[in-house]
Symmetry: C2
Subunit: 368 residues, 2 copies
């Protein structure tokens, strides 16, 4: 192999595919990045068998080839190279030479033939949306993906195409995050469960350009995200996801509207006193125009007051403050509405305007 | 006690004294911040018995007092308070109430009488210089303070007042960092050894204002830094420091001048290949106009070339790359001179212009 490209293209591409490189694995080839020449292009691939990422950059190919380089040392070298043209040559003994200005590295390569191919995805059923929108949807839901493996299906997010919209849902047993966004063309109904890890990694490589799009393709076993220069393929999770639709009832006995940021700050302060573990809830008491938040532990007490608009009954209810904070941090709107049925039923948090985001959270039973 | 001040003053002050609060100690009172009222002022103190910091802010004192609050929870509360006036009240049962806008916290306090006083320092022998200069001097020397406790005196830096200048020196057995700065007034000769930890913490609280000064007072056992609103008192280390003066000879057999940043980048790249431990040196070969840096380990090889001006003999020498990198990072000048005697003697790195900074480093013997 003999190929050259710019340092910046190469670094950019290495940083993208690194997100799919295993750091600890029993299969050493998975700790490598695959380099494969194409016509006027160099394709890099990382693959941990669950998640695979390909990224293609312009290159001058003097001699085609396909080899694998240990990702850690290769990425460190590329990161430190001067900003110049990089020449990569691999000889018959699989010795790779990386040359750039007055720097030259030699490291040993492995045959590309041993690198596991990415699954071939038939590009059939697909949807297209802005990368920035999908990034937002992930940000607003990923924090309530289950981390425990007791119900493996909940370590992923449900992605539904239904009624002209894309819906994303995550559930960890204590709360449900829901976000939808309308799709510009009518699409066939579909639903899959994507590992939380895949969504976390992919949201890091989404472009910040307002106009950049991502196309998503589905098969029974896999999902493929096409970002233009990069392609991400992930395994899907198998199993039955929670039926979330009925959880988000519009009924309430008490409804408050409140300034999101003021509420967030008050809960964060009250949470300081309950930091000693999840067993210390914060208590919320609300009447017609006032919400009082209190926390009381061996550390001391906190007392917070803030103005609200209340419709319906006065209420006292208690929550794990972390679960409230998580949601209030990802909502972009200035004002939120919170809907309650009773102190024993879940409440629903949503922006006052719009129905694209909803969050459900279970209360903690107070020992009164 | 009943006192009020602004949230921003209080937070600033808490952040300063926190640097002297013990996180792990057998004496729980040392995990506290002492709050002491003065006339129209509130004084905060942290003290871990080696290092003590006082910081004073303007305050309205309605009732004087002196109490200690657990530093972790108190600092977390102050950090999260709204930007408003903060009222601190402590009742006869040592219950402290912290009020700010619509937030109110109650945490228990301890009697200030149990808090260890800072040593009384007689303000006699002193020098004054810019905070920014002392911060620079610390940055350029602190990295070669010994971390191992085999020779406790070397875990500190030598501070000398001699010949109208302030000199700072640190030594860790492999290298010596030296920095001096002229003093504007003639001062009595003096020398003390200050714990590296003290210098590390104090350099974080130095102001970035160009004109802010620090006065330094010495006794046999202590050093005091007066920053205006804050005072830092530290124990000195006892013992004989290394006689460093003769190490920095001006003699050489080989002298090169080289672009500092280019050399730093080349060494950082070559070090990638020798990362597997200190036993892998980088090799430097220099002749009249060229420096070749190589590294060769089981990971591969690196080869770097860069232009230099050489006076004297050609030379081959090897170093632990980290020790070169540390010095090249803290020198501010564009060009450095490196003086060698032989491949077995230490070399000296210094800016081409000026003699305020010098760095000595021992080579690694090559098995040729």
């Amino acid at each position: 192999m003999k190929v050259s490209c710019t340092k910046n293209d190469l670094l950019n591409s290495v940083n993208i595919v690194l997100k799919a490189v295993s750091s600890r694995t029993t299969l050493p080839i998975l700790e490598c990045i695959l380099l494969e020449t194409d016509q006027n292009a160099l394709k890099l691939t990382g693959n941990d068998l669950e998640l695979g990422i390909e990224s293609t950059i312009p290159a001058t190919v003097e001699k085609s080839g396909c080899i694998a380089l240990e990702a850690k040392i290769f990425s460190e070298i590329v990161r430190k190279l001067p900003e110049d043209e990089v020449k990569i040559t691999v000889d018959a003994n699989l010795m790779a030479t990386i040359k750039c200005a007055n720097s030259e590295f030699k490291i040993s390569a492995q045959s590309g033939a041993d690198f596991p191919e990415l699954p071939k995805i038939e590009r059939d059923k697909s949807i297209t949306l802005k990368q920035s929108t999908l990034k937002d949807m992930i940000r607003q839901t990923i924090f309530s993906v289950a981390t425990e493996e007791t119900r493996p299906i909940l370590t992923g997010e449900l992605i539904q195409i239904k009624n002209g919209a894309l819906h994303m849902v995550s559930v960890d047993g204590y709360r449900v995050s829901y976000r939808k966004t309308p799709l510009s063309v009518e699409n066939e109904e579909n639903e899959v469960v994507v590992p939380g890890k895949t969504l976390g990694e992919i949201s890091k490589i989404f472009s910040s350009e307002e106009e950049d799009q991502v196309s998503i393709y589905f098969t029974d076993k896999h999902i493929l995200f096409d970002l233009g220069d990069s392609t991400v393929v992930s395994r899907l999770l198998e199993g039955e996801f929670l039926k979330y639709e009925n959880s988000f009832s519009e009924d309430y006995e008490t409804r408050i509207t409140v300034d999101r940021k003021a509420l967030l700050m008050s809960i964060e302060r009250a949470a300081l006193i309950s930091r000693e573990g999840k067993k210390n809830p914060i208590k919320m008491e609300m009447d017609s125009d006032r919400l009082v938040i209190t926390s009381n532990t061996e550390l001391g007490t906190a007392h917070e007051e803030l103005p609200v608009n209340l419709e319906g009954k006065d209420l006292m209810i208690a929550f794990n403050p972390k679960y409230l904070i998580d949601a209030l941090k990802v909502i972009d709107d200035d004002e939120v509405a919170i809907l309650f049925m009773s102190s024993l039923n879940p409440c629903i948090i949503q922006p006052v305007n719009g129905n694209e985001y909803k969050y459900l959270i279970l209360p903690i039973r107070l020992n009164v």
